[in-house]
Symmetry: D2
Amino acid sequence: MNKKIRITVWNEFRHEKSNPRVTEIYPEGMHTTIANFLSKEVDYEVRTATLDEPEHGLGGDVLAHTDVLIWWGHMAHGDVSDTIVAKVKTRVLEGMGLIALHSAHYAKIFKALLGTTCSLKWRESTDKERLWNTMPAHPILQGIGDYFEIPQEEMYGEPFGIPTPQEQLLISWFTGGEVFRSGATWTRGNGKIFYFRPGHETYPTYHQAEVQKIITNAVRWAEPTVCIPDACPNSPALEPLPEDPAAADRPTLGYK
Amino acid sequence: MNKKIRITVWNEFRHEKSNPRVTEIYPEGMHTTIANFLSKEVDYEVRTATLDEPEHGLGGDVLAHTDVLIWWGHMAHGDVSDTIVAKVKTRVLEGMGLIALHSAHYAKIFKALLGTTCSLKWRESTDKERLWNTMPAHPILQGIGDYFEIPQEEMYGEPFGIPTPQEQLLISWFTGGEVFRSGATWTRGNGKIFYFRPGHETYPTYHQAEVQKIITNAVRWAEPTVCIPDACPNSPALEPLPEDPAAADRPTLGYK
Amino acid sequence: MNKKIRITVWNEFRHEKSNPRVTEIYPEGMHTTIANFLSKEVDYEVRTATLDEPEHGLGGDVLAHTDVLIWWGHMAHGDVSDTIVAKVKTRVLEGMGLIALHSAHYAKIFKALLGTTCSLKWRESTDKERLWNTMPAHPILQGIGDYFEIPQEEMYGEPFGIPTPQEQLLISWFTGGEVFRSGATWTRGNGKIFYFRPGHETYPTYHQAEVQKIITNAVRWAEPTVCIPDACPNSPALEPLPEDPAAADRPTLGYK
Amino acid sequence: MNKKIRITVWNEFRHEKSNPRVTEIYPEGMHTTIANFLSKEVDYEVRTATLDEPEHGLGGDVLAHTDVLIWWGHMAHGDVSDTIVAKVKTRVLEGMGLIALHSAHYAKIFKALLGTTCSLKWRESTDKERLWNTMPAHPILQGIGDYFEIPQEEMYGEPFGIPTPQEQLLISWFTGGEVFRSGATWTRGNGKIFYFRPGHETYPTYHQAEVQKIITNAVRWAEPTVCIPDACPNSPALEPLPEDPAAADRPTLGYK
């Protein structure tokens, strides 16, 4: 197949400008780091978009030309316009894939698609995270062994306020004593959604090979098969129906 | 147990005032018909609320004192205030049960909880509907046989734009040749959701015994076990953590 | 409701006779300890059965008169007769609840109902187990907080070879660095199944209050609503069918 | 990718020899018809196997060299050896895909993987079957519209004794008034399973384009990602554990 998978990596891109620790790790922003490793796949065509661009970089036909959207947000979820969120939601339901990273558990778009609080426990400290592979046959986990470790990461702990995942891919162990469903999938409409926990801005998580491998795999998994716009059609019968004795009285109902 | 299950039956209550055919079937409104049959259960405490009341009848502590909310809406989904929808959603995620009837597939609250389009095919005609019981052990279907029929109903047809149900309870056959997932459940946060298809306003569906039985059963099934407000706590470690060599440099991060 | 829930606690009951450490913890067998705490519920009627009784204590009408079966096995899964396993499976599919404890992940009956290997990692050592509550509204977890700890337990680790649970209730953290889906539910036919991880024979786990609470809750959750024997009926049409031009040629087919 | 998908089409192959009507439709057996249309895909490598061959045609390394197994059985499920069923089950749990056609709902292998009765209603008559597409984005349904019809087929009706499908793909409408979940998927271990209802031996169903398209798509969907043999390893700790004060007393336990 010659067709490329068109990826848009969306990043809030504020920590990188205000926190020197983050700037040091991601001098061009997390989106650039992510775009760079994805671009190594010959069939991936990658662009980026950030919060402070006009329409958050998602205006015009960007979404229409995006097969898989990757989303990283954290401190400024409230600054994302409801109009853009509605457009992204429509595109996911039509078929676009969505990969929500780390604090995107609290992104408007993630919460709107899952329908729940998406709340969790958290702690910024010196925890090590060990992610266990609970579904080794899943395409997203190919190349990942029984587990992998991130030397230092923010802790996210259960209960995680999500609907029971369709597929449960990764569960994290944290030094401080917590566990977390760190990789999980859902289908919403025609679109596939993958949530992947790691990626706190103050750690070099997106430079780590296993993390890059999982995101790279997830793009291929989330590639759309279709683009089906929403419709709620009035449909004629396919089989003979009885006559309606009350038809003459029936008012014409035009709503729906 | 002496505690009563507190039910609020919410109805748009507009067809009944404007369409003589509907007025004839439900002279006091569908909500009153539903409240009346539910009130026969000695442990059910039933109130009603309608769209054109202040705050749609759901202001003050009504939701806080509601265990199970039943929702019927059709022609005026857009008139339901987003503020009220947000309050109802919060209560469901805390634990309140929700029973969405018929055209409530398109109610803002239903779509917000499921995250999808909830679109479908439809036809107002002379179809008979036969609902097949696909999960005879489920509490909601006790007292219902292999199937039951509704002599005339609006057709709803697949594809139905919902997430795969957690439990698939009923599938409808229509004379005109369509099928539909007419009874299905989901969990969202601490709340249980049941969608039940029948109930077009121009037919006496809510006067039918099987329909009443299912709604009555569903209330008991949807009764909350808990009321847990949303929280996203910063949590101290439960196990010893290593020292952070970079702690002195770490900026204090107050967001989340 | 006056009707009692009839519980059979099944135990392999061999470790208790051969290992002095186990004898000390469970002098009358684990089944007796479990039966004793369950018997405190006024509506629970509890009996026990063990491997070395005739027909493993499950002959005659024992299963027909059991609403919820609790199963603990470990070293002697292979000694359980396939005939008895088939009878238990039939009863679960008819409606009986099944609670599989600890090493019962490898019991013939559990594997036959789930259809998978049910394999896992394990280690007998000095791990502490902390069980996180991932579904605080679930009836089985009422009275359990955010988490509880078992001071010392055998480690079970992911990947756990189960179908994705219908409800994911508990995830364990172990000192040695592993995680495990320690509480999960499935529906099979008309019966409800709960797997609960803790309970290695060399630790006093079934004397611990939280463990007793969860098993006690699970019995009530697993109580059957129905008893429906298996059937695969030849069913006459409910709607008119066209004539079959080839009917005269059609051989009578009696199989199925 | 140059690697071919290796398919084995298994057929009971008895009706074709004993029933002239079936012989006329499938003179070389249904397996040959299915193998022929699958062989049009350049990356599919197809072989067949039948019940009355030695080891049912599945001996030696056939299963080890099969990526996707297609299974059609009806009148002779009981003649399939339990040993072969166990081998097939092991291969599915390792990663092999399984496509169960029509009466294979009652095949030993299908029941063993799903864990339920897999019973249903049935009728051989003049029903038309209309299959509705409930998940138009699914890879298995690409090229299939909103619905397709089979002019005459055996009726299968709900309730269908299966665990709630992971993905609900097709629901059938029958002239005689029934509905059926005609396309559904499950994951068992590392293997993917697709059940597809149509294919009664006395109708030319496997000659129909939509049916061929779905089976062709399903093979690609079910292709394994891995082959992971079952294991239940004793695993050393990854983190430091406390000393065990009772270690000296602890008997060595060699079971599991």
